[in-house]
Symmetry: C2
Subunit: 297 residues, 2 copies
Amino acid sequence: MITLRQLRYLAAVSETRHFGQAATLCHVTQPALSMQIQELEQDLGLQLVERRRNSIALTADGEEVVRRASSILASVSDLQDYARRKRPALTGLLRLGIIPSIAPYLLPKALPELHKHFPELELRLRETQTKSLVDELVRGDLDLIVIALPVDHPELETLRVFEDRFFVAQQACSATRAKKRMSVADLSSQRLLLLEEGHCLRDQVLSVCARSASTLDTTFGASSLSTVMHLVANGYGITLLPEMAAETEANDARIHLVPFCDPEPTRTIGLAWRKSSARRADAEALSQILSGIRATP
Amino acid sequence: MITLRQLRYLAAVSETRHFGQAATLCHVTQPALSMQIQELEQDLGLQLVERRRNSIALTADGEEVVRRASSILASVSDLQDYARRKRPALTGLLRLGIIPSIAPYLLPKALPELHKHFPELELRLRETQTKSLVDELVRGDLDLIVIALPVDHPELETLRVFEDRFFVAQQACSATRAKKRMSVADLSSQRLLLLEEGHCLRDQVLSVCARSASTLDTTFGASSLSTVMHLVANGYGITLLPEMAAETEANDARIHLVPFCDPEPTRTIGLAWRKSSARRADAEALSQILSGIRATP
DNA sequence: TAAAAATACTCCATAGGTATTTTAT
DNA sequence: ATAAAATACCTATGGAGTATTTTTA
């Protein structure tokens, strides 16, 4: 008996023209996928794939079956979308991605709130950098991601949730304590400590400070904000700290946070999802929760 | 993850409005079907069925999901039909029904021939009376049936294969041996031995003899032609024997077969399949085999 | 109360994983 | 020789069966 799984695997083979890659795409091993394709061929009584040395080819029948399979899979996907739109937001499974410079500060407050207001929600969390999150979102491995905007991708829709102000974080010494507010110009002489490459926060901070990577006097890149702040506390340099991280990361007496002069630089925290995924209602409900947390620190 | 099985079970529930009957329709037990329906509701996050005392109702969402499910299942069915049309006839699985008054005479010759010419064919045989065969064919539990025509059903297509002549079978005594050929009128005084109710052969013989069941001088009905012929051999009466059964059933020296005068009465052996099932090529190929056997007795 | 669906459990088929072999260039 | 798919084998998930309980008109 023919199964949707077989059709999904065949569609992946059609996309990649390679059993191994198709298997990866489907999150299974190559033999598992091979077996399902063979079984589909057996069930239909048709050869669908020509196995060749490098890369494979679909037979004419294979192409036609792929066309029909895609249409069936699309209908199934539509059915799932219909169901998702019909049920209340934030119920059932939600695969949520979130970047490392947000997760540890927002989640401890957000998770209890979510559980309180949406007990039916089954969250599956993934924490990694923006680039991976976007890839996985577009691939359909995630449903919704919490990131710093903008993200620009034709298949994605986004929702702005709130602005997260930057503070200057420096060692609490007498020389600097005087200033109530600082401007970007005040930072130019300082050594700027940053996260390692790949973190969007690194790029945002560089952008705020109007510096390019090449003008940095250090190539050091930490893998967590916590590390950066320890360095700041010990006088190795300064950094910009997002407001949401202040409570957690700046409770060391040796750290001194100074706000910027108006207009204060910020990063925009937002949500993104596939346009085709019927997740807008979920995004809006999640946005409510997240702004609520923001409003009551 | 949503499966075609779940959609099939849901469609059955929609048809029957009853879990038990739906389960029967799907050839599974009620708990098995219940579990799948529950899982589908869980996956979609929607209640699809309202469980009530006698019979159940679909929710509004349920109706919509059924509509979409039916469309998906139809597409899958179309895909299977496409595959069947594309591959050579009589390859893969064929669920073949055949009536008891044909099976024992045709199959011993037909099966070796089929295996010889169509080694890829995987036959699943079912022997029962015409009524059941037609029901199972229409229900989709069989692919093709071998019966006596006509069968008249709007969803079925038929193919005539060959005419099977009737012989008069009587005890080999001197009184009757004289005649080379007989007419229906010659039978009127004889006790007619028949198969039990439900066998189409019984009705055909009655029809040939222009008798109605009410005019029979016996209500006896045998469950197999073999029994009838033993009775004939022992002088309990006469019967009409189809030519294809002659070789097997009339090799008793006490049996005497006499052909009819022209035009000889016959039964029409034929095939039937669902119009929608893309089995015409299979039927034609099988017809070839069956007529071939007929031609070389 | 009785009919029907849900639950509990057990078993088995099958999907998937790891390790290895076969195949084709 | 090597990349890629097929095969062998084992494990675990889950679908289905039987027996039973729960539910609701």
